[in-house]
Symmetry: C2
């Protein structure tokens, strides 16, 4: 009688509280303060700016990066006014990169809505992205901490470097794991890491704690991006929906593809060369996913993601037990579990 048991397990899975929602509930007041700050900073007499910014920022993003910042501060002490500014600044940096990413990738859809570049054009997206980025620095200056400014200025350079490296890697079949990890470490993990590190710094926490949060953010960011990249090929089990295949269509060599190329037999090598050299179609995507699964590329990607999640969890062992710590640990597992 396996079926009923499976069914029960399944029901149970759904009853498990989502650790992200739990964390948001724990930090409800601080998140609300952050939302108020975010809205206040989008105000401009130039109407196009709040139009574009609200469209993106209100579209129901998870606020993962501000949450990390606030959570780190809360775990170390008080969530001060500067920490709220910092959380909003981190979301602005993220939003600026999303606006520019969508231009670069010529994307039409984000978070289930039409992208800003589709509605207002590439020009508006580029310039409003610049505005959000500049405004982020305004907020960071308002925190009054030169150390935080230093970390976030450096992080912004690293993000841009990662984005350029990703662009330079497009449609290339010779990208190795090191390059891939440099890309995702720069474009994704660096901001996760800076958000949690700076959250801890804002409370004047011990260096050992600051370092723990830096590592937690970095490894969580890697796990998150690795799982995302597995999900873009449907993850382990998912049906192929509309959200699948973006990386493939855009010629982005992510870890699943890199592993498949490493393990490819002659005919598969030819396939990868062929699809990276020309415009792909849906048939190619189906073939690619079949090969990826046959070569264990999704499993391997998620194994690496889980290793990062374990490192993230380990970094937090320095903290005393608390509901907040449990949430952060469960989030590390959750970001990978999404793709299982």
């Amino acid at each position: 009688m396996n079926a009923p048991l499976k069914s029960a397990e399944h029901a149970n899975m759904h009853e498990l509280p989502n650790p992200l929602e739990q964390l948001s509930a724990l930090l409800k007041t601080e998140l609300l303060d952050t939302e108020v700050e975010i809205s206040a900073q989008m105000v401009s007499s130039v109407g196009l700016i709040p139009d574009v910014a609200h469209h993106l920022v209100d579209a129901g993003g998870k606020r993962l990066r501000p949450l990390l910042c606030i959570a780190a501060a809360k775990a170390c002490g008080e969530v001060s006014r500067p920490a709220i500014k910092l959380a909003a600044a981190v979301e602005f940096i993220h939003s600026a990169t999303l606006l520019h990413d969508d231009v670069v990738d010529a994307s039409n859809l984000r978070r289930g809505l039409k992208t800003a570049n589709l509605i207002w054009g590439d020009k508006a997206s580029v310039l409003v992205g610049d505005f959000l980025f500049a405004r982020a620095f305004n907020m960071m200056v308002a925190t009054g901490s030169m150390r935080i400014l230093d970390i976030l200025a450096e992080t912004s350079s690293i993000i841009a470097e990662g984005e350029v490296l990703q662009l330079a890697s497009t449609n290339r079949g010779d990208i190795d794991r090191d390059t891939y990890f440099k890309v995702i470490s720069s474009k994704t993990a660096a901001l996760f890491s800076a958000a949690s590190e700076c959250g801890a710094i804002s409370t004047g926490a011990d260096e050992s704690i600051v370092s723990a949060f830096k590592t937690y953010g970095q490894e969580l960011g890697l796990a998150f991006q690795l799982a995302d990249d597995a999900l873009d090929y449907g993850g382990k089990t998912q049906e192929l929906g509309k959200k699948v295949g973006d990386d493939f269509r855009e010629g982005k060599p992510t870890l699943p593809m890199i592993i498949a190329i490493e393990r490819a037999q002659e005919d598969e090598k030819e396939f990868w060369q062929k699809v990276l050299a020309r415009k792909h179609n849906d048939e190619d995507l189906k073939t690619a996913i079949t090969i990826l699964r046959n070569r264990g590329a999704i499993d391997e990607t998620l194994k690496v993601a889980q290793e990062c999640a374990e490192k993230a969890k380990l970094a937090l062992s320095i903290l005393e037990e608390s509901e907040l710590k449990t949430c952060l640990i469960n989030i590390a597992d959750m970001v990978v579990a999404r793709a299982n």
Copy 2:
């Protein structure tokens, strides 16, 4: 016998030393240090970044903004290491906006060379622009002055706001002088102003001197952009060459056009409505320039530019006489005289 006299005057004009070159000669060592800093900051393991950045930054820009920064510092005291970092940072902010401007305007030519977007594509220009902007903040943090960071973060927001306002004003015949001045004050004068203000601040100068340099930069920036906008229609006397008509073609309502619309008779009103509503051709540009000259729009624009130049010069009256002060005063006249 007017002709020989005129000829002699003309010869004399050409013999007058260029005040920008004079200033560069006075600040030779400091400018060289700035160039070294600029080159050092373009280094990245991602090869596309120095490729794009060097193409733009080495293309022989006048380094007007770094010069203002260094000149202000020199006029107030010592040009310190932080002042050099600041000068390089200001040039990076400017370069980042140029990369993004060329994408937004779909430009093919800048400083006589193919634009970066034409060579490497819009994507690379957007992302390398982001990198230069982030790197500028790295350098500003390295100056160690929270006040300077505050001014330049605010300036960066203002620049982006001005760029968005300019975009929102495109192809509109109802833009008034106030909106135009908000655009040029934001997109151009703000960085001139911040560069000279922060140069003075870097030496610990008196607030009265800091304020003088802030005003000088602001008014010089306005004069510079007004003259540029007159030059885009050939200035007072210039032959129409390749460099003329960009603003017209891009549907940017600058002061010459705004004045011409203010003073337009019925048939001219129709003309402006017509050309702002559709794609323009070279014949339209010729007609536009004829109307602009008949309505005195170029003369009036340059009169306003000269008024700004006078305000810039007046601001410097607080300084003791020096060769450097004379250069700065002559530069204010020069930026307008270009269009005469």
